[in-house]
């Protein structure tokens, strides 16, 4: 019987087995019953397709390691603080910008060298380890290779390909592969954890492509549903030449709106908080100097915020592109008569329609165009140029 915390991990039975065995050995180590590390090791790499719950897995594992009872009861102080990210010995690195810098990693390595304050484990979780720059990965290398006795590194990388993380890091970690959770399990979670009504939960689970977070967003957010249906209108909506630019424009505008909406909410508040912290609005001697320092700090903050906005914009765009790619995949599946599960079962009529109009070769060219666009955006191509080129190809086939 597995412990309560593992219920967080939806449809990942093999991974849960590995991790709970490791937690058990870890508990034995901490209690001094044995010196054999057994199933426990010092560095773990969680990989899996987007939405499979890599960071949840990492946090859950952290909770199991910090659990006062030893195995992850889910109710004790250690479990709860580790899960919510407030445990003193669990350090979370959640990159909001485009990459994780060397400086960030160097300070993290120092922190990781300390002994755990609660006497169990010092845990470092790096979400999106694929965003480590080369320099940052190298700075981390030594620490991951031979960490202090009670330090554990948990890295997450959004891929079904562990090769997205540099080989030097990868070879020092034990790999935990998460799989795409089955729709039934996702629907179950939506109903139980988020209180979504059954029909909506089943629908969201069926169209989310195995991405739990996306399913929750679709089930609870009306505008996300609208955006998805707007994206899925594109493939069959490209009749006139000018439609290309209208559709491309819509894709870009939505992404930009998403980014600016988020930055509007957060940027100003953050800047105000920083200015207050740097003593703005003060009077008297030395104000000018303080103001200069504050301005420099604010400029740095603005730089970080810009990086974050760019990332939000790319993420939104990427989401739309993934939906599009899935549609073309559906068309291919329908045309081949394979009867495999569709990514967008609710748009089955459209994909059947398209399958009868297009040859598999032209569908494949369209699918390739979408994937090429994703890659181009990663190469920092201006989104508008990349998207317009893609939509042009989508229209042509």
């Amino acid at each position: 019987m597995t412990q309560a915390v593992w219920s967080q991990l939806v449809g990942q039975e093999p991974a849960v087995e590995t991790l709970s065995a490791a937690a058990k050995s870890a508990a034995a180590l901490v209690d001094g019953e044995t010196t054999d590390s057994g199933a426990m090791t010092h560095a773990w790499l969680f990989t899996g397709p987007p939405g499979s719950g890599r960071s949840v897995a990492a946090r859950t594992f952290a909770a199991a390691l910090q659990c006062n009872l030893g195995l992850g009861c889910g109710g004790c102080n250690g479990c709860r603080t580790a899960l919510s990210g407030t445990h003193a010995d669990v350090r979370l690195v959640v990159p909001e910008g485009l990459s994780i810098s060397v400086a960030e990693m160097r300070s993290l390595v120092q922190a990781a060298a300390r002994r755990p304050t609660t006497g169990r484990w010092q845990i470092v979780i790096i979400e999106d380890a694929d965003r480590l720059t080369e320099g940052a990965a190298n700075a981390l290398l030594k620490a991951v290779e031979e960490p202090p006795e009670r330090t554990v590194f948990l890295l997450c990388a959004p891929s079904d390909h562990p090769e997205d993380v540099s080989v030097t890091i990868r070879s020092r970690c034990r790999l935990v592969t998460l799989r795409t959770p089955p729709p039934a399990a996702i629907a179950q979670v939506l109903m139980e954890r988020d209180g979504v009504e059954e029909r909506m939960a089943r629908w969201a689970a069926s169209v989310c492509g195995g991405h739990i977070g996306r399913a929750r967003r679709l089930a609870t957010d009306e505008s996300a549903r609208k955006r998805r249906s707007a994206v899925l209108r594109i493939p069959l909506g490209l009749r006139r030449p000018s439609d290309v630019f209208v559709c491309a424009d819509e894709l870009i505008k939505t992404a930009e709106a998403d980014a600016s909406e988020e930055s509007k909410v957060r940027d100003e508040a953050e800047q105000d908080a920083l200015r207050t912290a740097m003593g703005s609005g003060g009077t008297g001697k030395g104000v000018a100097g303080a103001k200069r320092a504050a301005d420099a700090a604010v400029r740095q903050l603005e730089k970080r915020q810009k990086s974050r906005a760019t990332r939000t914009q790319r993420d939104t765009l990427d989401l739309a592109l993934v939906d599009l790619a899935a549609f073309y995949r559906d068309v291919l599946v329908t045309a081949s008569g394979a009867g495999a599960m569709l990514n967008h079962p609710d748009h089955a009529t459209q994909s059947t329609d398209a399958a009868s109009q297009w040859t598999p070769a032209s569908t494949l060219r369209r699918l390739e165009a979408v994937l090429a666009c994703r890659e181009a955006i990663e190469w920092n191509v201006k989104p508008r140029i990349a998207v317009e080129a893609m939509v042009t190809t989508l229209r042509e086939g």
């Binding site: 630019f245 890659e375 181009a376 190469w379 317009e388 080129a389």
Partner: protein, 326 residues
């Protein structure tokens, strides 16, 4: 000249940021002041380093009212306090002092923005020194320079000179004077070519214009020149993309009056008119191909290709090939 007896105007406003012209305007004021008083001295102060008392000292009348020319530079950074001090002096100018305010026309603070207007109202002699951006203005400038130096230049000579020297006025002016001296007054294209070779100014837009026109030789030439003088690859790639997508958008919108289409397409009418002209020779398929090419080169110049120079050249060739293939 009979100006020797008349004192220079007490207040001058030099408006604009074309350095050479600003310099000349200041020099002209100094010259006219020296005509009255050969010992007139020139004082230059940056407004940002000036305090109100300093200004008062500079402009206070002196015992023998010697000629003085006081230049307040970068007046666009003026503070309210200095601006007030200047205006209170302007109301009661001292004898023999010429105050020259050099202002770019911009400015951040309210006082700085309002300064030119208030000075004009106070009766300042205004010299406009705006940046020369239009080709026609630059040509007029060159012709004028040659004439001032005592020579004559024909139209082909002007074009050749600007092509090979670039758009920096100081260099153009120096080159013009030198050419007049070397060629004995009559400057034509041959004379220019004898002393100047190559091309100083190639922008990404020029490359793009040649490429979408399908002129292979000219396009390649301008690509090579742009590489020679170090135009960033990203700019060339962006210009290519912009040219192609403008043509594609305009031709997708169909024929129509540019002025009416401007609102719908979100572009200025002249750009639409130009794109309508350029769209001749392109069709849907070739434009689609071109869109893919410019998207590709955009990634290539940002690190996807080993050699961005080659990537640009290939993209230009591919664009022309796509146009011809239709």
């Amino acid at each position: 000249m009979t100006a020797s007896a008349t004192a220079p105007e007490p207040l001058h406003l030099v408006l604009g940021d074309e350095e050479l012209l600003v310099e000349r305007a200041v020099r002209a004021v100094l010259d006219s002041a020296r005509k009255v008083d050969a010992t007139a001295e020139l004082t230059r102060v940056r407004v940002s380093e000036l305090t109100a008392p300093q200004l008062a000292e500079l402009v206070s009348p002196s015992l023998f009212s010697e000629g003085r020319v006081i230049v307040l530079e970068s007046a666009q950074d003026v503070s309210q306090e200095i601006s007030d001090a200047v205006m209170s002096y302007v109301a009661m100018p001292a004898d023999g002092i010429a105050l020259v305010v050099v202002h770019t026309g911009g400015g951040r603070s309210k006082a700085a923005k309002a300064l030119p207007a208030t000075l004009k109202k106070a009766g300042a002699t205004v010299t406009e020194c705006d940046k020369i951006t239009k080709p026609a203005e630059r040509e007029a400038f060159v012709r004028n320079e040659v004439r001032t130096a005592g020579g004559r230049i024909d139209a082909a000579g002007v074009v050749a000179l600007i092509d090979s020297v670039g758009s920096d006025l100081r260099e153009l002016s120096a080159a013009a004077a030198q050419l007049v001296a070397d060629s004995g007054g009559k400057v034509d294209e041959d004379a220019v070519r004898r002393y100047h070779r190559g091309r100083a100014d190639v922008t990404g837009f020029m490359v793009a214009e040649k490429a979408v026109a399908g002129d292979r030789a000219a396009a390649l030439e301008s690509v090579r020149w742009s590489q020679q003088i170090g135009v960033p690859h990203v700019l060339v790639a962006d210009a290519l993309a912009d040219a192609i997508r403008t043509i594609a958008r305009v031709s997708a919108a169909g024929r129509g009056n540019p002025n009416q289409m401007a609102g719908e397409l979100g572009m200025p009418p002249w750009k639409i008119r130009k794109a309508q002209g350029q769209s001749r020779g392109w069709n849907g398929t070739s434009l689609a191909e071109a869109m893919r090419i410019v998207a590709r080169v955009n990634a290539e110049v940002k690190g996807a290709a080993a050699d961005p120079d080659y990537a640009i050249e290939r993209a230009v060739l591919d664009l022309i090939a796509a146009k011809e293939r239709r």
